[in-house]
C-alpha cells in the first residue's frame, strides 16, 4: 500500500528507516517544510547548533565515536556554504555523513534567487557523492542510496540538495524499501593470491613494521581486535597515524607511538629502516612520509586499503590489496595459521635503542606549566574513565596525540586531513550525544576554540556535560613554532591578542569556568572539572614558548628528526618552505 506524502514527510520517514537518532541542524527559509515535519515528532531529536559548521563537525563527532552516520540538516545558500568546511573535513578523514541541504524551488534555480547557492557545484569535490532531488518520487531511493554510499566502502560525506517545492509536493510513499539499482559495490575482500603473497613477504621479514591508520577505525571495532590478534601472531612492532590512534593499545610493549611529523623517534626510525612495511588503512600522507625520496628506502611495501586510488598515489608499493581492513586482517590471520611469531630479536633490540632516546621528553620550566605535563596529568586522572577526547588543530592536538595514551578505538576524534581549527567543541557535542554518560573532553588551544565558540550555547541547551580543556599559550602555537623554525622568529600575526576571559565567557553561557595558573593546582583543578556535573571550560595557562617535538621539519627525511634541545631557530631554503 502506498499513500501520497509530501517530500518533507517522505524524507523524515526515510531517516527513521535508516535508524537516525539525531539530526544536527539549523533552520532557514528553504528547509521550513522539513522543520515543520520535525515539529512535534519525537522519534528524531533535532540538535540546534549555533552555526552550520558546528552542525557538520558535531555530526562528525557523533559518527566517529559511534560508527553510525551523522546527519546534518541546513538551509540553502549560507546554510550550505557554512557547512562546507565540515563536509570537506569529513571527506578528508573518511567520516560517514549525510548532509541534507535545502535549495530554492526548482523554478528559481539559476535565477540568483534569495539564499541560492549552487550547492551541488560547490560540494562536488568535497563529497563522496551528491544529489539534487527534483521530484519527491525520487526522494526515498535517493536517501537510501545516500546512506549506503556514506557508510560503505571508504566512508565519506554525501550531500542531498532538496529544493523547497520538492519538500512540499507529494508523491506516493510506501513502507517497503524503495526500488533502486545497486550500483555501488566496493571491493572488500582480498584475493587468495594477494593474501598468500602478503603472508610470504611477512614470514620472510627480518625488520617488519605495521603502519596503521584511520581505515582500521572506520572498519569498525572488530578490525581493531583483529589488528591486535595479527600483531600478536606475528610479533611485529606497530605504529599508527594520527587518525588511527586507539586501534592498537598505547600501553603495549610493541607499540612504537604515533609516526610522522610529530611522531616518536622509534616509530619514524623503524619506518625508515624496516625491510617490510605493512600499511593497513593509511594513505602515505605528506605528514607521514616527510621527504618522499628518502622515505623508507629499503623496504618492501604492502598496502591494504579499501580505496584503490589510495594505492600507489604517493608511494609506489610492491603489493597493493584493495579491501576492507577488518576483512583482509581476518584473511591474513587465517592464512598465518599456526606459524610462529617472527624471530626479530635484532630488530627489536635496535628499536629499544631508539626508544631509549625518549623522544617525547620535554624540559621543565620554572614558573610555567608545560603543556605536555598538563596533558599527561589529564591522561593520568581520566584513564580509568575511558574518556572520548576531541581536539582542535595545532600544537595542543599534537601534544594530545603524543601524551594521551589511547587503548580503544573511537575514543580519539581529531581533524587530521583537513586540519580544521574549530572542530573539537562541536565534535565533543556530537560525541556526548552519541555516548551519554561518557566523559568527553575537548583538548583545545586558545586560538582554535574561538573558531566555533558559539557552540557553547548548544552544549548548554542540550545539557551536555562536555569539558573543554584549553592549553592557553597566547599564540597560534604551531604557526609560531614554524615561524621560529623557518622565518627567523618573525611572528607575523600569530599572537592571540585581545583574548576573551574564558572563565567569564563560560559563566555567561551557564557553564562552569575555571582557570589554572600554577602547576601545583593542576591535579586539583582537573579533579574539580571532572566532578562538575555539567559543561566546564578550563583555561589552563601554559608556557608561552613550549614547542612540539619531535619534529620532522618541512622537506626533511625521517632520519632528520629534531628533538627537544636541538638547535632549531633559523631559516629554510625555498624548496623546504614550499613543501609546507
Amino acid at each position: 500500500m502506498s499513500e501520497e506524502r509530501s517530500g518533507a514527510a517522505i524524507l523524515v520517514e526515510c531517516l527513521l528507516r535508516q535508524g537516525v537518532e539525531f539530526v544536527f541542524g539549523y533552520p532557514g527559509g528553504a528547509v521550513l517544510p522539513i522543520y515543520d515535519e520535525l515539529f512535534g515528532d519525537h522519534r528524531i531529536r533535532h540538535i540546534l547548533v549555533r552555526h552550520e559548521a558546528g552542525a557538520a563537525h558535531a555530526a562528525e563527532g557523533y559518527a566517529r565515536s559511534t560508527g553510525k552516520p551523522g546527519v546534518v540538516l541546513v538551509t540553502s545558500g549560507p546554510g550550505a556554504t557554512n557547512a562546507i568546511t565540515g563536509i570537506a573535513d569529513a571527506f578528508m578523514d573518511s567520516i560517514p555523513l549525510v548532509v541534507l541541504t535545502g535549495q530554492v524551488a526548482t523554478n528559481l534555480i539559476g535565477t540568483d534567487a534569495f539564499q541560492e547557492a549552487d550547492t551541488i557545484g560547490l560540494t562536488r569535490h568535497c563529497t563522496k557523492h551528491n544529489y539534487l532531488v527534483k521530484d519527491p518520487a525520487h526522494l526515498a531511493a535517493t536517501i537510501d542510496e545516500a546512506f549506503e554510499i556514506a557508510t560503505t566502502g571508504r566512508p565519506g560525506p554525501v550531500v542531498v540538495d532538496i529544493p523547497k517545492n520538492v519538500q512540499v509536493a507529494t508523491a506516493p510513499f510506501s513502507e517497503a524499501a524503495a526500488q533502486r539499482p545497486r550500483r555501488y559495490r566496493p571491493r572488500t575482500t582480498a584475493s587468495a593470491d594477494e593474501i598468500a603473497e602478503a603472508i610470504d613477504l611477512m614470514a620472510r621479514a627480518k625488520r617488519p613494521v605495521l603502519y596503521t591508520g584511520g581505515g582500521v577505525i572506520n572498519s569498525g571495532p572488530r578490525a581493531s581486535d583483529l589488528l591486535r590478534e595479527f600483531q600478536r601472531l606475528t610479533g611485529a612492532p606497530i605504529t599508527s597515524t594520527l587518525m588511527g590512534l586507539g586501534a592498537f593499545p598505547a600501553d603495549h610493549p610493541d607499540w612504537l607511538g604515533m609516526l610522522g611529523m610529530h611522531g616518536t623517534y622509534e616509530a619514524n626510525m623503524a619506518m625508515n629502516q624496516c625491510d617490510l612495511m605493512v600499511c593497513i588503512g593509511a594513505r602515505f600522507d605528506d605528514r607521514i612520509t616527510g621527504r618522499l625520496d628518502a622515505f623508507s628506502p629499503d623496504s618492501t611495501k604492502i598496502h591494504i586499503d579499501i580505496d584503490r586510488s589510495s594505492i600507489n598515489k604517493v608511494v609506489p608499493v610492491d603489493l597493493g590489496i584493495v579491501g576492507d581492513c577488518g576483512t583482509v586482517l581476518e584473511q591474513l590471520i587465517s592464512a598465518w595459521g599456526d606459524r610462529q611469531p617472527l624471530e626479530i630479536a635484532d630488530w627489536t633490540a635496535r628499536i629499544a635503542e631508539w626508544r631509549g632516546k625518549n623522544s617525547l621528553a620535554y624540559p621543565k620550566r620554572k614558573g610555567a606549566i608545560m603543556p605536555q605535563l598538563a596533558i599527561e596529568r589529564l591522561f593520568a586522572l581520566t584513564r580509568e574513565l575511558d574518556p572520548i577526547i576531541t581536539t582542535e588543530v595545532g600544537q595542543h592536538q599534537m601534544w594530545a596525540a603524543q601524551h594521551f595514551g589511547f587503548v580503544r578505538p573511537n575514543r580519539w576524534l581529531t581533524s587530521g586531513g583537513l586540519g580544521t581549527m574549530g572542530y573539537g567543541m562541536p565534535a565533543a557535542i556530537g560525541a556526548q550525544l552519541g555516548n551519554p554518560g561518557k566523559l568527553v573532553i575537548d583538548i583545545a588551544g586558545e586560538a582554535s576554540i574561538q573558531m566555533n565558540i558559539q557552540e557553547m550555547g548548544t552544549a548548554s541547551q542540550f545539557r551536555l556535560p562536555i569539558k573543554v580543556f584549553i592549553l592557553n599559550n597566547e599564540y597560534m602555537g604551531m604557526v609560531r613554532q614554524w615561524q621560529e623554525l623557518t622565518y627567523e622568529s618573525r611572528y607575523s600575526n600569530s599572537y592571540s591578542d585581545s583574548l576573551p576571559d574564558f572563565v567569564k565567557m563560560a559563566e555567561a553561557y551557564g557553564w562552569k569556568g575555571m582557570r589554572i595558573t600554577n602547576e601545583a593546582d593542576l591535579d586539583g583543578s582537573i579533579e574539580a572539572m571532572l566532578a562538575h556535573d555539567g559543561p566546564v571550560m578550563v583555561d589552563c595557562l601554559v608556557s608561552k614558548e613550549a614547542n612540539c617535538f619531535p619534529m620532522i621539519p618541512s622537506g626533511a627525511a625521517h632520519t632528520e628528526m629534531l628533538l627537544y634541545g636541538d638547535m632549531v631557530a633559523g631559516t629554510m631554503d625555498d624548496e623546504a618552505k614550499a613543501l609546507v
Partner: protein
C-alpha cells in the same frame, strides 16, 4: 631560487561509461581540474536506447603513475561504471571528426579540392567561394589536413575530439 619543474608525460585515451545523470560531466571535468590532470580532448554522448548510459572518451597526458591515478580516481566516482585505458590495453582504433571551412577562388580553390581528395575528405557544403569539408580520421591526419588548408584559405575548423575502441571482438 625555486623553479616549477615539468616531468615526462605520456598520451593516453580513456573511455569511461557512466550513468547519464545531471552533473556527471562537471564531476569528471572537475576532477581533472581539481587534481591537476590534463584533458587534451573530451567527447560524450549517450549510447543506450533508454539514454541511461553515456560513453565519455578523454585524451589525457601525464607521467605513468598519474595516468594510473586518473583511472583510480575516475573509478571512485559513484556514477562511473567502468574506465578502460585504451592505450594501456594496446591495439585500438581512434577517430576524430573534423569540419573544415575553406574560402577562395581560382587556383587556390582547386588546390584545396585536390588536397581534400588525397585525404578522402567529403565536401558537405559547396558555394562558388567556399567549401566545408568533412574528414573522419586520426587526430594526426586531421592536424596535417588543417595545416595544409591553412595555406589555402582556411576560415575555421571544428573538431569532435577523439573516440576510440579496442580492436577485435572484445568490448571495452
Amino acid at each position: 631560487m625555486m623553479k616549477i619543474q615539468e616531468g615526462y608525460t605520456e598520451r593516453h585515451v580513456l573511455t569511461i561509461t557512466v550513468d547519464n545523470e545531471a552533473g556527471i560531466l562537471a564531476k569528471i571535468a572537475g576532477l581533472f581540474t581539481a587534481r591537476g590532470y590534463n584533458i587534451d580532448s573530451l567527447t560524450v554522448a549517450d549510447i543506450t536506447e533508454d539514454h541511461a548510459v553515456s560513453r565519455i572518451t578523454i585524451v589525457t597526458n601525464g607521467p605513468p603513475p598519474v595516468i594510473d591515478q586518473i583511472t583510480a580516481q575516475l573509478e571512485r566516482l559513484v556514477p562511473v561504471h567502468k574506465v578502460t585505458d585504451l592505450t594501456e590495453r594496446g591495439e585500438h582504433v581512434e577517430r576524430e571528426l573534423a569540419l573544415v571551412k575553406v574560402a577562395g577562388r581560382g587556383s587556390s580553390r582547386e588546390e584545396a579540392q585536390r588536397i581534400a581528395d588525397t585525404f578522402h575528405a567529403r565536401v558537405i557544403d559547396d558555394t562558388p567561394g567556399s567549401f566545408v569539408f568533412e574528414l573522419t580520421e586520426t587526430s594526426d591526419r586531421i592536424d596535417s589536413f588543417v595545416a595544409e588548408m591553412r595555406e589555402h584559405g582556411l576560415v575555421e575548423a571544428a573538431r569532435s575530439g577523439v573516440v576510440g575502441m579496442i580492436r577485435g571482438a572484445e568490448g571495452a
